[in-house]
């Protein structure tokens, strides 16, 4: 395996959890809901995924469990913010804290146990092609899943009626309500989708990235995903660029260190954040496009006017 191959594979592995969590949050925010609980949903996905995979010896069941855990957490958030109309920011932050604490409690008995790895899909003929084989065909289903989800979200948001409805609900929920669209139902659905994706991202961490469970293993990736969604102005294509750019700079920082180049490691650690923010700000320079894509009602609770 050449060095370039190894680097590309590592970049893809590093970027996938960010991409998964961020694309889910993008859909949630497009419908006008700001869910700050991405980190909490992600870590719950990680612990559930690991626990299920360990007890059933099946990584796929673990992925499913992670997804369900994410959905569960997000539905709790949805109930609190949509039906009970609590503050979305406060509830989201509480969800993060709840997730971190609850996952630590659940994971107590699973810490330090050798994990079940989500295996790469070894497509019999294609994976053996030198270079292209491992790089394009040698990944596990969640990597391909993340790319399909991004493509799917882009298609649904911009080419289907459902996408228009979601955008309408996020843009002006009163008008959408007046038109007869079920605002709360749409938001519940988008929140659940966001939760599912965050759960998948968490499951990826504990089943493919580092197959083990350690408390707090999400290490702040949820917050990075949240920032990526905003800086990409809620456009899936830009989100893809942002997530992979972050992963690339992150891995290249380690790569440069291993080559012995004399750049302080702390500076290299901060570069992914700096580079991604700068790049996305430049890409998002078109003010009109930005305004068009910002969900104007984000964070506001919906109470139908009588």
């Amino acid at each position: 395996m050449s060095a370039l191959e190894a680097v590309i594979l590592t970049i893809i592995t590093a970027s996938t959890p960010l991409l998964l969590a961020a694309i889910g949050e993008l859909v949630t925010e497009r419908s006008g809901v700001l869910n700050l609980g991405v980190e909490g949903m992600m870590i719950m996905g990680a612990v559930s995924g690991f626990a299920a995979a360990y007890t059933t010896h099946s990584a796929l069941l673990g992925v499913g469990a992670g997804l369900l855990a994410g959905v569960g957490m997000s539905l709790l958030f949805a109930f609190l913010t949509q039906t009970l109309m609590t503050s979305q920011v406060a509830t989201g932050l509480s969800l993060t804290l709840l997730g971190l604490g609850l996952s630590g409690m659940i994971g107590e008995g699973f810490t330090g146990l050798p994990g079940i790895k989500l295996e790469a899909l070894n497509i019999p003929f294609l994976s053996d092609i030198p270079f292209i084989g491992p790089v394009i065909f040698g990944h596990d289903i969640l990597v391909y899943g993340s790319l399909f989800i991004v493509a799917g979200v882009a298609y649904v948001l911009f080419c289907t009626r459902l996408g228009l409805i979601i955008t309408a609900v996020g843009g002006n929920h009163h008008s959408a309500h007046a038109l007869g669209y079920k605002v709360l139902r749409v938001r519940y659905g988008c929140i659940a989708f966001g939760g599912a994706c965050s759960g998948l991202a968490g499951a990826y961490l504990s089943l493919a990235y580092t197959p083990q469970w350690i408390e707090n293993m999400s290490s702040g990736r949820g917050w990075i995903a949240l920032a990526l969604v905003v800086f990409s102005t809620w456009l899936p294509k830009r989100l893809l660029v942002g997530a992979y750019l972050f992963g690339t700079v992150w891995i290249m920082g380690l790569y440069v260190q291993a080559l012995g180049v004399d750049i302080p490691s702390q500076l290299l650690s901060s570069l992914p954040y700096l580079v991604t923010i700068v790049a996305l700000i430049i890409i998002s320079g078109n003010k009109t496009l930005t305004k068009v894509n910002t969900p104007a009602c984000i964070g506001q609770p919906f109470a139908p006017e009588r």
Partner: protein, 356 residues
């Protein structure tokens, strides 16, 4: 009259109870860990030491621990809380707790503190460490023998003397087998970050390293090595069950003898602030079984281990040259502990600059 008798009886009973409680009051021992006990590495081994104290002296002591305490202001808070809760002996198990420990020690002069891997002491602060570099020398030799590419990857945490002496000892051991052995170092700036450690391991392997070793606390690098067909060494505890076919050996910390000894000293009233730096000879450091290697390599390793244990061989024996070419030790001389504890230079043969 009945009421008066009753009150007298009650207060007498309470005095006796209080007296009995004070007489049987256990020594409270506190532990501060930098990582989770479940890291199966550094903090796990310290907790094993704590459990050893409980096992041997359980009727006289009561232990309590706080895990995942970040080095810095949080540490001071955690240590203070333990002292306020009545701990008589507190073990702070990470280098970065040095200044917080001293600060709290000043405010609680009756409490005794043991700081691991530090170098500042006071009347009630002792320091203790393990000569892990002895183990590093052995695994350096094994690495040079087992590596086909002649390159090893080292995942390091922070550029403190503790870590630097480990890197130097490793390459010195490797150089006795292969004078051109190459070492690539990645600094992850954390004692415990499985994701980052895993990424570092992948990058190192991608750059040609087929032996991975680490001075960080998770099992992730070894697992990545196993996954990618490389071999590696466990850190602080025996990590064989995480990589049954890839772990060659592990440098295991055994704090139990030291912890039990110091606790007994506190109970007997003979505790004094001291600096203990014990290694293979005293059992504070031991090597996990040599696995996944041919018989001649394990024989060589055991021979080196015996030589170091008996004192015949010291990993840092001259002639020793620094990376810049200057002589660090004259031929035949053995490095002194002070120079080791303050080591901030690479030996010759390591590419790459040591960060500040």
């Amino acid at each position: 009259m009945k009421k008066l008798l009753g009150t007298v009886a009650l207060s007498l009973a309470m005095t006796f109870a209080a007296g009995a409680a004070t007489a049987a009051e256990k020594l409270k021992i506190g532990f501060i860990y930098v990582g989770p006990v479940g890291d199966h590495g550094w903090s796990y081994q310290h907790d094993q030491g704590r459990q050893a104290i409980e096992k041997e002296l359980g009727d006289k002591v009561e232990t309590v621990f706080v895990e995942k305490v970040a080095e810095g202001p949080d540490a001071e808070r955690a240590i203070t809380r333990l002292a306020r809760q009545g701990a008589g002996l507190i073990f702070t198990t990470s280098f970065g707790y040095m200044d917080p420990t001293l600060k709290v020690a000043k405010r609680f002069p009756k409490v005794k503190f043991e700081h691991a891997t530090g170098y500042k002491r006071s009347k009630n602060v002792a320091t203790y460490n393990g000569r892990f570099y002895e183990g590093r020398y052995i695994i350096g030799q094994i690495a040079a023998k087992m590596s086909k590419s002649g390159v090893a990857g080292y995942i390091a945490s922070f550029p403190i003397p503790e870590v630097v002496m480990g890197i130097n000892s490793f390459i010195l051991g490797a150089q006795t087998i292969n004078p051109d052995f190459k070492l690539k170092v990645i600094w992850v700036n954390s004692w415990f970050d499985p994701g980052k450690e895993a990424d570092a391991a992948k990058v190192l392997i991608g750059q040609g390293a087929d032996i991975i070793t680490q001075h960080t606390d998770s099992t992730a690098p070894l697992q990545i090595a196993a996954d990618k067909g490389a071999m590696g060494f466990g850190q602080a505890s025996d990590m064989i069950k995480f990589a049954p076919k890839a772990q060659l050996t592990s440098i295991v910390d055994d704090w139990a003898p030291y912890y039990v000894r110091r606790t007994k000293e506190v109970l007997a009233g003979t505790w004094k602030a001291s600096d203990a730096w014990e290694g293979l000879a005293q059992g504070t450091v031991y090597m996990a079984p040599y696995t996944n290697m041919p018989a001649d390599v394990s024989a060589m390793a055991m021979k080196t281990e015996a030589a170091i244990t008996s004192g015949k061989l010291h990993p840092f024996t001259g002639p020793l040259y620094k990376q810049d070419g200057s002589m660090a030790l004259a031929a035949g001389k053995v490095i002194d502990d002070g120079a080791l504890a303050g080591m901030n230079w690479y030996v010759k043969g390591i590419d790459g600059k040591l960060p500040n």
